[in-house]
Symmetry: C2
Subunit: 307 residues, 2 copies
């Protein structure tokens, strides 16, 4: 059984994983998921990327939206607003159950790793899902309005601000399970997620970048940028803000020191030579994960690129 | 403005209060509500009697049921069960918002009294609603299965056990606001609630029984028993278990030392002489609160009996 560790953000990573577990033994797959987007709402601990992965692999996700629950209702949310609670971060009724459950267990002293593993089992998910860290690592975003929390930037202000700087709480460490998954992996994938706010916080964990560079596994990165635009979210705007090409090439430059291979979309085939010149093996394949078949194809191409 | 303090349990008290605020200035009404039924579910603090009063006076209650929210959904509950949480205490999605809000504020250090007052304002309720105590006072019930929590007895086991003994956490004290409401009241009403598990815990608060006996206000009790049966809940079974007549007379004996007047149903008119012989003024009126008009009539009769 091939052991594949995948560094993950939210929607793009979750869709990638759903293809991967279709083409390899899920028991060999370990998702290492960003938790720097985590925040507390109404006293409940919310882990957006973790939940997107759980809901997607558990078959519960709102497919078109890419995150949250399908058949969702928002009755608790309306009542929270009536009671004067901030209502800009909308939590569905089904989704709330997850936050209530997680918060209870965390308050009782369980680690986020333990909580997520229990939920994974309850949802019948075969892949291992690991929070990148059990330490708080909350992303702060410097905009022209000052330093704000990630969810304030991303949800409340709809990612409309120019991002001047990003900061993660320093000193967060990867869990032992994460270190073991990286050390034991045959293949390491950097999922098609935002390089700055999804993959960035994972790479910022103490010692993790060194561990990746020393890993025996091949590291394959999948571009989240196609045709100069992000499939989802503010990755393109952030590439521009931080002075990178808004393209698969810009992403490849970010990962050049870490990765051995790079997957880019057929639409960006003309960038392959420049990416190869960075020292990366390139694979040019369709990367837009419209449906189950395209996700499986992308996963197959990614695994093949690592071998 | 007449100041009326009402000792309250859940449904019966809430319906009584809804009639009372229709016939007197709500600003003069203070509900002193049992919190010994409070419990924690999924890490959330649930206050069943408080919420029944809030929902009823706020116009949000499920009228036929008498408690909980109308137009309620149970999507979070289904998901909590999927995640392995105990599901016997069913919490609706709208109702959950209240528990989430309350739990957040309690964790941030607010008292239950402060939390309830904020909710009361948010729901546009004119009457004052006071938890009888801010101390934990959880009712324990001794059944043939041993000591169990009140909600285990009442909800999980559907009040089917013979109750051998009741115990409230000792040392709970009435809040300053409760003491002031009793001291300042022109009329004190014991609502038609369960004498043992709704009114009993309030009377068990340190010093409260003495304060009632010394109060300048007339104390009027409204029978929760009509024709030998409780309108709702296990009051009749408890009267029997503790050796009292299962009748308005049995209730009157429980309150004889505290009350000046006693309201009983027209169906029980034949018991009036025996109740009067206990030293209580009696009023015989319809006490079944079918609709707004009968609630208002009962409230008027109660206030009149106190004067």
């Amino acid at each position: 059984m091939e052991r594949i560790a995948v560094l993950c953000g939210g929607v793009g990573a979750a869709r990638f994983l759903s293809g991967l577990v279709d083409v390899v033994d899920p028991a060999g797959v370990t998702a290492i998921v960003n938790v720097a987007d985590d925040d507390e709402f109404h006293g409940l601990h919310v882990s957006p990327d973790i939940d997107t992965v759980l809901y997607t692999l558990g078959g519960l996700v709102h497919e078109e939206q890419g995150w949250g629950r399908r058949d969702e209702t928002f009755n608790a949310q309306s009542e929270l607003a009536r009671l004067g609670e901030d209502a800009w971060f909308r939590l569905g009724d089904r989704d709330l159950a997850m936050h209530i459950h997680r918060t209870r267990l965390l308050r009782e002293g369980r680690s986020l790793t333990e909580v997520v593993d229990g939920v994974r089992r309850a949802l019948g998910i075969g892949a291992t899902i690991l929070p990148a860290t059990d330490s708080p690592q909350r992303t702060r975003v410097r905009t022209d309005a000052g330093w704000i929390g990630f969810q304030e930037y991303f949800v409340q202000r709809r990612a409309a601000d120019l991002v001047r700087e990003l900061r993660f709480e320093p000193g967060a460490t990867p869990t032992g399970a994460v270190r073991a998954a990286i050390a034991g992996a045959d293949i390491i994938v950097i999922a098609p997620s935002n390089p700055f706010v999804s993959i960035g916080p994972i790479l910022a964990l103490t010692g993790l970048r060194d561990q990746l560079q020393e890993a025996r596994a091949a590291v394959v990165a999948v571009s989240p940028i196609v045709g100069g635009a992000a499939i989802k979210g503010p990755a393109a705007a952030m590439l521009a803000a931080f002075g990178y090409d808004v393209s698969a090439l810009g992403v490849a430059r970010l990962y050049a020191e870490l990765a051995d291979a790079f997957i880019l979309d057929t639409e960006d085939a003309d960038l392959a030579p420049a990416i190869a010149a960075l020292g990366l093996r390139t694979s040019v394949v369709p990367t837009i994960m419209r449906d189950r078949a395209t996700r499986a194809d992308l996963a197959r191409a990614t695994v093949a690129a690592a071998r």
